[in-house]
Subunit: 172 residues, 2 copies
């Protein structure tokens, strides 16, 4: 990892981590899309990341301590990427960024419903989501009662409801 920094300012250092057009997109897809494999990130990305950029950013995010990589026991060539605690604690920042974008930028309705729910849920919902991510990626024990729908499931259901409603409105 490169240890030369422009300054010791927290905002500058954060920007040295995320100050590009792809790193946060990859983390978004892992956090909200549940993606763990190279191909899932490559083909599932709405924005169409190139494979060389994806490989470079995954390597860089590992060097920075935001991701780890492990072998997939089911496939000798597959790698599973996991979020570290450092990356999981970005959830509140993602929520704020989404909320800000929803107010000021030309977001699409179906893609902003998740941001809306996250905003309305506030810190308690973010904490629940972070616990779920710790379970998925770090093997931490689950804290929510069994049977509780996961935050990602709730967000996904809301997204699909909007898509279905818009499809119905279009055919009606």
């Amino acid at each position: 990892m490169n240890t030369e920094h422009r300054s010791g300012c927290p905002i500058n250092l954060s920007l040295e981590v995320f100050g590009d057009r792809w790193s946060l997109i990859i983390l978004r897809d892992m956090i909200f899309g549940g993606r763990r494999h190279f191909r899932e990130l490559l083909n599932g990305s709405l924005e169409g990341i190139a494979s060389n950029i994806l490989a470079d950013r995954l390597r860089r995010l590992m060097e920075l301590g935001l991701l780890t990589k492990a072998d997939d026991p089911s496939h000798k060539q597959k790698a599973i990427y996991s979020l570290t605690e450092m990356a999981i604690t970005l959830v509140p920042i993602m929520a704020h960024l989404g909320a800000w974008g929803r107010v000021w930028l030309p977001v699409s309705e179906e893609l902003s419903i998740r941001a809306e729910l996250l905003e309305k849920g506030g810190p308690p919902l973010w904490e629940q989501f972070m616990d779920e991510l710790r379970h998925e990626h770090l093997g931490a024990p689950v804290k929510t009662p069994p049977g509780t729908p996961t935050v990602r499931q709730q967000l996904q259901a809301a997204y699909e409801a909007v898509v279905a409603r818009k499809a119905e409105a279009a055919t009606a």
Copy 2:
């Protein structure tokens, strides 16, 4: 302004605004450093931005609606840059970014004291700061009682106290 977007996702759109190494640095210096002129931003920047990059980013931030530019009545050549409401509402994101960076990145003590105070102050302090910025940049009426120290003054005083303490410790 370019209206082609990679996707309508709020996080992606936010990244299209801030996904570079300088835009947020400029906004940070305007918000926390109170800088309004080209030269102040050019020479005051800890990270050493180049003048052509600064000119390009100021133009871009104006196109995006985050800044406005006006003539300085005291100097026919000077331009005054002002934050818009869109930029002022970034304060909570700045606070979160600073808090995250303080935990996970090699920040310097004197440059992270502001982030620490902003974090401890929480949303009420952010709101007070945003009101002050609305007064400075948008001409909005002040809401705090007269005589109350401004948030920027509080942050600056804390910064200087750390610098003074470290200087004393170094000579002792």
